[in-house]
Amino acid sequence: MSVRVYVPRDAGAVAVGADEVAVALRAAAARRGLAIEIVRTGSRGLYWLEPMVEVATAAGRVAYGPVQADDVEGLLDAGFLDGKAHALHQGIADDIPWLKRQTRLTFARCGIVDPSSLDDYRAHDGLKGLAKAVSIGAEATIEEVVQSGLRGRGGAGFPTGIKWRTVAQTAAAQKYIVCNADEGDSGTFADRMIMEGDPFVLIEGMAIAGIAVGATRGYVYIRSEYPHAIAAMEEAIAVARRGGLLGKAIAGSRFDFDLEVRAGAGAYVCGEETSLLESLEGKRGIVRAKPPLPAHYGLFGQPTVINNVLSLATVPIILQKGAAFYRDFGMGRSRGTMPIQLAGNVKFGGLFETAFGVTLGELVDDIGGGTFTGRPVKAVQVGGPLGAYFPRALFDTPFDYEAFAARDGLIGHGGIVVFDDTVDMAKQARFALEFCAIESCGKCTPCRIGSTRGVEVVDRIVAGEKRTDNLALLEDLCNTMKFGSLCALGGFTPYPVMSALNHFPEDFGGARPRLQAAE
């Protein structure tokens, strides 16, 4: 009987040597005449331990990490195939405290199952949500999603069930389900992880959405920077088709649904839903004015559900366990769990899924362990390039859509980028505007022109040129962008800029002069 060894094939693990470990392991086992079966999984999300290799033992899966190819001989000598002690031994994977204290609902299977095996997916509770949706029908399925309180995980936080209901109520010959997998925000990688580690959950979620709203075609728009995720999704879609999960009469029901992957082409703005739809139509990714909403006039002018990867990947467990089960997690109007991503200069970086309500300080200091450079944390940016920079003084903010908004920030897609005290916040503010200028689609003036003018104004402030005037000008410009832009790119770029300025004025050449209240 061969020993089963799990080696992740997640891009984050591959980037630090997982493929080399798998090759070394196979070669060493062959040399020693050991029977092993290597299963390539997704990542558990404990990236400081990647490549994290697990061995199936009678007591459970025993983890070792971070393993490099040249550790393999030593591991085999130490008896790692029996889960024996070694310097890299982390104990039973499920019992690792960082993993154990999480509430994994969306990521329940990620890092555990073989992402190319539909049988493995089924053996780990997969397809139960779809079976439920088929049995209760479209209307009741939408009601479950509404009642669960699930909100758009892409960042906007719009109730997913309401979106679905709007599409369901709009008559059309062809409707679409579009999955927004254009995860361009720095500091976020949850979409990538789930597509690489548990792609069937996304397929199942999209199929449920299709049944609920009466859509028979779906697209997953994945950014080109994610070649591993594209390959994993394409492989899973082919397997799902063969397994009767996609195509005609899916999973033995009376519903048809099929799915296709489309790759992005390096435009950040295509993460904005209307820009993404334009791009899927083969056009320039220019933002559309809303209304009309995509739910009424979406892809090719047809009613379209466009949801983030995590929103769709969370639907199966909501259907499987019921709306109340999911809704019971969380705080306020933020229900359920959020896969939070700890990134940048952080000691224990990775994916931490937990109920809404955990504070920013717990996440950064306690769970993240502070910086890997060992220097003090100066600032964290929450919610991607368009999210605010928070100083330590705001670390009591609970992770919740409304609590972050109340402090002029946003949780966005749940990424937290940690910076130590060497960061220059004026440089970060300038970068936010510069990035906006590069990535602006050009349709609206506040974003197209404002971003470029903003870079110039920040440069003048830092150079000490007419500081009071230029600070007032920057604030005015940010207000124009915030309220006058068509989409979140121009509209939210003021968040990193103004938060950097308000919380770290010393980086902009000294304490901020008090502006006259001129309302």
């Binding site: 361009g184 500091g187 080109s224 489309r262 082409a265 139509e281 083969g282 990134a343 390039p385 910076f419």
Partner: protein, 157 residues
Amino acid sequence: MEARNTWDADQAAAIIATHANREGPALVLLQALQEAFGHVPEAAIRMVAEALNLSRAEVHGVFTFYHDLREKPAGKHVLKLCRAEACQAAGCDELVAHAEGKLGVAMGGTSADGRVTLEPVYCLGLCATAPSAMLDGRVVGRLDAKRLDALVTEAQR
């Protein structure tokens, strides 16, 4: 991996014929042509426009909108360094300067011998193992000067 095929109108026509019936095909076609030839020459834009009954301006507009699409072939190898916030927090700016110095080109440029194109990328989703890079589609995390030197040497070979 960057494609090495030289431009071939017949092959391009075959690629266009394969994808022209898909929904919203223009971008898919340009991507497929770039994958085959490593770039999208003006001649390809004309062919796509004709096949889809679009104006050349429309197809040119799509082509110029997306950072991935190139008018000219890149170097033999493409080394992308992530410059987004998570990698900034982990010190990517120093690595960018280091790579530029070693290759003797600025970001976006190709080394004089045509071997290496150095490009910025804004997030590879490897933010918990930052700083990160990609050499011809192969991802590399926890980049430091030593690992970067090895990558540059590999690309120069």
